[in-house]
């Protein structure tokens, strides 16, 4: 078991390296270096050259063979842009944003709370409502109630999230003044974005959880439970729910890393100073270090979340023995 956990933890390394390589390749290799941007609008070519040197943009991208051949030490081959980045990240030093000059670790720390303030309630409300509705669907499976829920959830899924946000903000905040239009001052400011987030996402979740529940409904053990004399409700809440918990858990835990990245759209429209918005900004401005850091942390959390899923699996499903 311990060996399994350690092994799974170690997979973080190749995946993270891969992610870094991917993003590095896109932004640094193909995107060119950002020295001129750092130098400002009136910069002289000399200044740009100096910045290139200072940031190490003049070094080879992946391997410094030249240096290695010269000094004869294989370690010198790693004196390159990519491996410097790797070394830096290994020490959890993400450097500074090109755009805001801030330490990225600080930006992350500042942004994660607002992001979680929005995503966590959305996640929890959506999860509990979707599961409750999915149970109702399973209870009334094949009836008009079930079909209505399915159709409504597909309708809800078919509207662009952007339209939900725009319409929601326009009608409920601006026209009706039920909610503040914009801001991040008190929990009241979160009501509308959370409500919109839940409505935009619930269709998909409901449909997914319903499928899982219905799958379980046709298992042999359900027949046994009925043969014992269990009522619909007992079968549903006791037998089916606990079995369905396993696929649901997988789905849920894998969604957790995305809580951390926040919601791009909601954050931009409602002025929530979270990581989603920070990421969008970084995309717009080509703020490489921020993107590197976001992607890096995102992938680490993602891999860990996957590990947690597997561990929860054993907890929820006694059939699975990890060796």
């Amino acid at each position: 078991m311990t060996a399994y956990i350690i092994r799974r933890l170690l997979t973080v390394i190749p995946i993270t390296l891969g992610v870094l390589l991917l993003v590095f390749f896109i932004y640094r290799v193909i995107g060119g270096d950002p020295a001129a941007r750092l130098a400002g609008k009136n910069a002289t070519p000399q200044k740009i050259e100096q910045i290139r040197k200072q940031y190490g943009f003049d070094k080879p991208k992946f391997f410094n063979w030249q240096e290695a051949a010269k000094t004869g030490s294989p370690a010198a081959a790693f004196d390159s842009q990519f491996w410097h980045l790797v070394g830096q990240f290994a020490q959890l030093d993400f450097g500074k944003s090109l755009q805001s000059n801030q330490r990225i670790s600080r930006m992350l720390a500042d942004g994660v709370v607002p992001s979680l303030c929005v995503t966590t309630p959305i996640f929890l409300v959506e999860l509990s409502v979707a599961i409750a509705l999915a149970l109702i669907c399973a209870f009334y499976r094949g009836t008009r109630i079930d079909r209505t829920f399915v159709v409504v959830s597909i309708v809800a899924m078919s509207i662009s999230g952007l339209v939900y946000i725009m319409m929601g903000q326009y009608f409920f905040a601006f026209r009706l003044r039920w909610f503040p239009v914009w801001g991040f001052e008190s929990p009241a400011f979160l009501l509308l974005p959370v409500a919109i987030g839940v409505i935009a996402g619930i269709g998909g979740s409901l449909r997914f959880y319903r499928t899982i529940m219905l799958d379980e409904m046709y298992q042999d053990y359900v027949r046994t439970a009925f043969a014992k004399g269990c009522s619909q409700r007992e079968v549903l809440f006791k037998h089916v729910l606990k079995n369905a918990a396993i696929p649901i858990l997988t789905n849920v835990v894998v969604a957790i890393p995305f809580l951390y990245t926040g919601s791009l759209m909601l954050e931009s429209f409602f002025g929530i100073p979270g990581l989603g918005r920070m990421t969008v900004d970084a995309i717009y401005t080509g703020d490489e270090p921020v993107l590197f850091a976001m992607v890096f942390i995102g992938s680490v959390i993602f891999v860990i979340a996957n590990l947690v899923t597997d561990l929860l699996y054993t907890w929820a499903d006694p059939r699975i023995r990890l060796q």
């Binding site: 190749p14 899924m157 326009y170 890393p257 995305f258 993107l291 992607v295 992938s299 993602f302 891999v303």
Partner: protein
């Protein structure tokens, strides 16, 4: 019961393929059948839009939907312009029709990238296992760990903006889901006795992989395509909002994005028109996709959840 059904079926006149059985089941779902008609109508519009585009292209003239009328800009709906005109006086209905073309082109071209990619990698991983599997799992874990919107934008940053960027971006990101499903199916099928039978006859790995197993998992491709189609359309809206959308042709995402500011002026028809055009197609595709899955492979768990 199944055996009885099979026996009686054996007496049926025509050979029954999986497709004909599935089609019969699909047809019984009235809603899905109706939605199929909606899709057919959209396909018709798409073909019409293509013809408009290509005619203009081949004649080297400006296509009608691009003809601007500066003095008639931002017009309200009228008999001439059912949904009014846009900021340069182009007819909104004509724009919406071209939006159908763009939506179909995006979906089809992205799929043309992701389906072979996802299928091949999934098949290789599932069939060969061991290090091939490990390498492919590594690859898709890497792709999967980066939020998809970020990846799409990054890729389009490299390959260029507009249609090309979106199509390649989405294609290179969305293959993971299909790859997982295909890999799982291959893992399952390679245990089946018919694979052992083929091997015992001396069939090579490639033959087994492509001629024997592939037809058994092909329906997943179709289901994935119908379920991804609406996702592509919805993602395009977000990409447009983020500024990596289509630039030189009218797309729904761009239209929604353009119309959002005029909403304040009570100009609801622009946003409403684009939203409705998109909504009906997405809805129809979602319902048909669902019904297809129920008909072809009810146990298949395709990934769901919101893209944002």
């Amino acid at each position: 019961m199944t055996a009885t059904a099979a026996n009686s079926a054996a007496l049926a006149a025509k050979p029954q393929t999986l497709w004909s059985t599935a089609w019969r089941q699909f047809r019984r779902n009235r809603l899905a059948a109706a939605c199929l008609w909606i899709i057919v109508i959209y396909v018709g519009i798409w073909l019409y839009a293509e013809s408009v585009y290509w005619t203009a292209y081949l004649r080297d003239v400006v296509p009608s939907y691009k003809v601007t009328d500066f003095d008639a800009r931002n017009a309200a709906p009228s008999l001439r312009h059912w949904l009014g005109t846009d900021f340069t006086g182009r007819d909104n209905v004509a724009q919406l029709i071209q939006g159908v073309r763009i939506a179909f082109e995006i979906a089809i071209l992205s799929s043309a990238i992701l389906i072979p990619l996802g299928f091949l990698l999934g098949a290789l991983a599932g069939y060969f296992g061991r290090w091939v599997d490990n390498a492919i799992i590594w690859l898709y874990s890497v792709v999967d760990s980066v939020p998809s919107i970020l990846s799409i934008i990054s890729i389009s940053y490299v390959v260029g903006r507009g249609m090309k960027g979106i199509v390649i971006g989405m294609g290179l990101v969305a293959w993971v889901g299909l790859c997982r499903l295909i890999r799982g199916e291959y893992l399952k099928h390679k245990q089946r006795a018919y694979v052992a039978a083929a091997r015992a006859l001396g069939a090579g790995h490639l033959t087994v992989m492509l001629r024997h197993i592939a037809p058994n998992v092909l329906h997943i491709v179709i289901i994935t395509f119908t379920l991804l189609f609406p996702r592509f359309i919805l993602t395009e809206v977000i990409l447009s909002y983020l500024g990596v959308g289509i630039a030189n042709e009218p797309s729904w995402g761009v239209m929604i994005n353009d119309a959002k500011q005029r909403l304040w002026l009570g100009v609801w028809w622009e946003l409403g028109g684009a939203t409705a055009a998109m909504f009906f197609l997405v809805l129809a595709l979602n319902i048909v996709g669902d019904a297809l899955r129920d008909a072809l492979d009810p146990k298949l768990k395709t990934a769901e959840g919101s893209a944002t």
